[in-house]
């Protein structure tokens, strides 16, 4: 259940000649600098991972400045401490720690500049298995990939998902030939550059609560929406969904963050606000610290969707790829060895008069969609 009033507003706004334009915020004098803590404990592996960075002015293109060489400890309620070691660039890792799920944990940080911070105590909760990942095509022809899960005990209630998409795609034209030292050779099986794999993690936050339902059931919660014209579903598509149970506090944090950073500005949207997590300053209790320390059990499930699984003529991806010809006398001097589609033989001739070619992004799948040629290990 989502109250998506902003959508209605947009629709109406567009109807009556509304418009959206890019907006540059006024430059802010003396940009505030806040510490950003991103901490997570994976209960399955017992590994704690913490990233300490600083905020960046909105207009800046600089990378976030790392907070290095801090002392970071994972502390349980009974007073046990486990160090989380700096690995460089503001990243801190622990080995496999003996996490006791009945205990609460918190994060303690002392920066190199001797400022102290700590998080609230956090309970890591067990996560139910994902029942299934399914998909359907909605009335606007978008492919919706959804997650289904449930907890018979009814204890989970708050869920968070993350996903990683991987898809296989093919360039529009295939170069069957390669140029080596001015000579044309047939490509060997491992030399083809027409099939690529691209992997992208989700950048948005997905949280949902079954608090208003009689049973702890998540039914067809849409995680991914794919346009039928998208390159993703031209051959084979896969998505790995990670599910994690949240505490109420964590749910409130992630859902506020989602609302204030992903979903604002409509006529009927809530007004934005500062979203602060569960990290507090000890040295200066009034210091605002951004970020959240959490953890839990991650459950995963992957599905594959082939083009053939979808209705015929569903995929509407298209690209302009005109074919041109290179006369044979120019072929040896080509700078780029990967542009030859195939030879052209004049009637009755035994030697080609030239080679067909096309735009580079129509020939090399890496240029076309930013993927890699290496097939992922999990690929079926």
């Amino acid at each position: 259940m989502k109250f998506r009033l902003q959508h209605i507003a947009w629709v109406f706004v567009l109807t009556v000649a509304g418009c959206l334009e890019p907006y540059d915020p006024p430059s802010v004098k003396n940009n505030p600098d806040f510490l950003v803590v991103d901490g997570f404990v994976d209960v399955n592996t017992g590994a704690a991972q913490v990233r300490l960075t600083h905020t960046v002015p909105l207009s800046s293109t600089a990378l976030p400045e790392a907070e290095s060489n801090a002392t970071v400890l994972l502390q349980d309620e009974s007073g046990n401490s486990f160090p989380v070691i700096h690995n460089g660039a503001g990243l801190y890792h622990s080995g496999a720690l003996p996490i006791d799920q009945t205990k609460k944990y918190r994060l303690y940080i002392r920066t190199a500049g001797n400022r102290e911070y700590q998080s609230d105590y956090v309970q890591f909760r067990p996560t139910p298995d994902i029942d299934s990942i399914s998909y359907f095509i909605d009335e606007f022809d978008f492919l919706n990939i959804t997650v289904n899960t449930h907890d018979a005990s009814g204890n989970t209630r708050y869920y968070k998902w993350h996903y990683v998409e991987t898809y296989e795609y093919k360039s529009i034209h295939t170069t069957g030939y390669v140029l080596r030292n001015g000579a044309v050779f047939n490509r060997t099986a491992d030399e083809f550059i027409n099939i690529c794999y691209r992997t992208d993690p989700a950048t948005n936050i997905f949280v949902y609560s079954t608090q208003r339902l009689a049973e702890d059931v998540v039914s067809n919660y849409t995680l991914v929406k794919i346009n039928p014209a998208d390159l993703k579903i031209t051959r084979k598509y896969s998505v790995l969904v990670e599910q994690m149970a949240l505490s109420v506090e964590a749910f409130n944090y992630w859902s506020s963050l989602q609302k204030t950073t992903e979903n604002l500005g409509g006529l009927f949207d809530p007004m934005p606000a500062q979203v602060l997590g569960n990290i507090r300053g000890i040295t200066d209790p009034n210091e605002q610290v951004i970020g959240y320390f959490g953890g839990g059990e991650i459950k995963q499930k992957r599905i594959f969707i082939r083009k053939e699984d979808l209705p015929e003529q569903y995929s509407r991806f298209s690209m302009m790829c005109p074919v041109d010809t290179i006369d044979i006398e120019f072929v040896p001097s080509l700078v780029d060895p990967d542009v030859l589609i195939g030879p052209i033989y004049p009637p009755g001739a035994l030697a080609p008069s030239g080679y067909t070619t096309s735009l580079k992004e129509c020939l090399d799948c890496r240029r076309m969609g930013g993927g890699v040629l290496q097939k992922p290990s999990f690929w079926e």
């Binding site: 806040f34 993690p201 409130n252 006529l267 009927f268 979203v275």
Partner: protein
Amino acid sequence: MRRFFTLVVLLMALKLSAQTVRITGNYNGESFAKFVDHVEQQTNLRFYYPAGITDSLTVTTTASNEKIEDVLNRILVNADLSFAIDRSNNVYITKGRKIATSLPDDFFGQAPITSAPKEQFDFSEYERQERKKKLLETRLYSIGNKTSDLQGKATVAGNVRDQETGEPLIGATVYIESPNIGVATDQFGYYSITLPKGRHELKIKSVGMKASVRQIMLYSNGKLDIELEQDVTPLKEVVVESQAEARVSSIQMGTEKLDIAQMKQIPLALGETDVMKVVMTLPGVQSVGEGTVGINVRGGATNQNLILLNDAVVYNPSHLFGFFSTFNPDILKNVELYKSGIKAEYGGRLSSVLDVHTREGNLKKISGSGGVSPVTARLSLEGPIIKDRTSFIVGGRTTYSNWLLRQLDDPDLQHSKASFYDVTAGVSHKISDKDHLYFSSYVSRDLFNLSTDTTYQYSDRNGALKWKHIFNNQLVGVLTATMSNYKYTMASERNPINAFKMDFDITQLNAKADFTYFFDGRHTFDAGIHTVRYMLSPGNFRPVGTASLVLRDVVEKEQGQESAIYLSDNFEVNPRLSLYGGLRVSFYQFLGPKHVAIYPPGAARDSVNISGEIYYGSGKTIKSYGGAEPRLSLRYIINDDLSFKASYNKMRQYIQMLSNTTAITPTDIWKLSDTYIRPQVSDQFSVGLYKNIKGKNLIETSVEAYYKLMNNTIDYRDGSVLLLNHHLETDILNAKGVAYGAELLVKKNTGKVNGWLSYTYSRSFLRTEGKFSAETVNQGKRYPSNFDKPHAVNFIGNYKFSRRFNFSLNLIYSTGRPITLPVVKYDAGGTTRVFYSERNAFRIPDYFRSDVSINFEGNHKVKKLAHSSWTFAVYNVTGRKNAYSVFFVSNGGQIKGYQMSIFAQPIPTLTYNFKF
């Protein structure tokens, strides 16, 4: 008067010919005027005679089913007076026997009166009207029992009506010039004026009507009903002047009165006259943006306005996400907005009272009007049920936006629906001269959904029944009962597992008795008793269908009772100084049945801290609040063209609307004051100077300044949740507000070029400081409210090329409203996110808009089957992309800022209006 006669008048034949009119009666030394009054009331005869000629005439005669001619002959023979009766049953009394030669030219026109051919009186309709008016104006009315004692004062009272439709005229001024004494008619068209006994020339002026005068001889308290003629060509000089004078001389300040005729000249988007949009062009009134009807008056929140339609409260005055207001322009009469100097009879909201009146309907004949614009169509009908006694009016409006949406390319839009309708109806019935009944009712409904996701429906319904009783010339009482209901439903049935419906519902029942006592020429007392019962169902969330796993969630109902008594005196100390003092005492109870959460002392109001709850049984008082609300005003006339006014108001508000979005939305909820959420209270001080610059055309200028303190206004915790919240006190904060500003207005109502220019400086701040950081906003510092827009300049201009062509121009400027912007970004989980500034630390770009419109009226023949007009308007001529809101999204790891504009290009509309 009538009771002094024991007389029955018989109208003997139906054929309307004077020769057949017979009367029966016994007159014993009555004045001739009384005799005439009586005969006129009982027959269809109309008497016309110059003032003064019958002053010394008394009537002593007995008639028993006698012809009127015979009776008149007997009465007039000794007074050297003659009479003639024409075919239309007009009786003309003239001095001297030789009628034809002794008449003044302008009295009977060119036609000499003889008893000969009646055809000579066959004037055209227009001439006849003019003649009749002139006769009404020159005739001397004697008021009260004729006595020789002309010491002291007496009161004359009555109704001022539209001669053509019989409708009462609100706010018409009835006055004499020497000494300068004047009153305005009330919402029923009733006036009561106390004057020294003797001869007066009573002047009557009303917007849209031709000014008129009545010659009266005031003997003692009496009645005088006055009918005014419509001014066929609007905005004739003399008409609006009366209002202008009122601005300087009336005690009322901080008040804007708008007549529907004025509103219709202002160009508007989407081709329809919209009360709320016009109100937004007035000084001191602002809104957060274009797509909303929520108004912010003098730095107050949108829920602090009392919006009344014929005395019944309107909860949601918007249609189609706020692009239209719910008031149908065809049946509106006028709108009054009180920003300060609010009288004691009004209460329950902090910032303003917007009092909207519909017409009562034509008492004489059936008529109608309507209009067609690109988005809406409307039609209204009115007329008599019993001629001159009972009238009805009904108006409806709907939209064809569904059809429009389907014509669009975007599949998202094609699957969307948006529709609304509203119907307003009224019946007015005159039981007797002293008793009048009014009924009005209003129903509006909106329905929309986007694609197939969630459907929203809301409806506002209200009804009002009023009984006005005139006890005597000085005392008038009105009993009013009203009912208002607002509810909305949202539903989603797309996924059977999550299919749900959610309802919100609020009903209020009002009963009140108001009395006005016109004590003498100097004191007018008002008193009354009001009570309101609120019944509120804050949320009922339930499953739909058998597959739905949705858990039923019902937020406990709330009920409350708000009562008030008031007494006020409008005291005319001397012609220069006028004082108004009123005291309203209000009392509110939050009533059971209800469970109330308990928070341990010293703990933050957070749901995790709830330590228990107390149950209060049905009708038990859970919490009560109340207090005095003094209302004081002063007016001092420095000279004829200049006056000074000051006022102080205290207001209390026991019901608030909760909304943590920028604009009013259909899912905003109302909340009664309870144990934790205290009533809002405000104190407003204001002063003003009013100056008229007389010249060929009168220019009125004014400057008003105000300072307002507000307590317990509503503020929200960051990320507050309002829907289906069982303990709203955990998300709502009580804030202290302060607002101050000044409003300058220069207005020219007459001449070829007319309009107004206003400048408003206004600030509005909040301070929210709780015991805990979560209950504190911006570290307890004072911060600008969402509608703090310091500078606003509005220009509304009209140029009349001719009586049929009219060009209008609006120029609107205001400072951008405050917003919260991201200040820094950071990386979390591989995605860039933003961190916001303190609340309302920035502003969106300034707002500027210009609109033009051309109005073309059909020809001005008075007698025509139907009158029509065309309006061509262009909204936002320059196409300036005014930012409605600014927002940032993190998409694919990038932060992008956008500004959204609503009317980002010129919007032309063509509207056809008709009247029959």
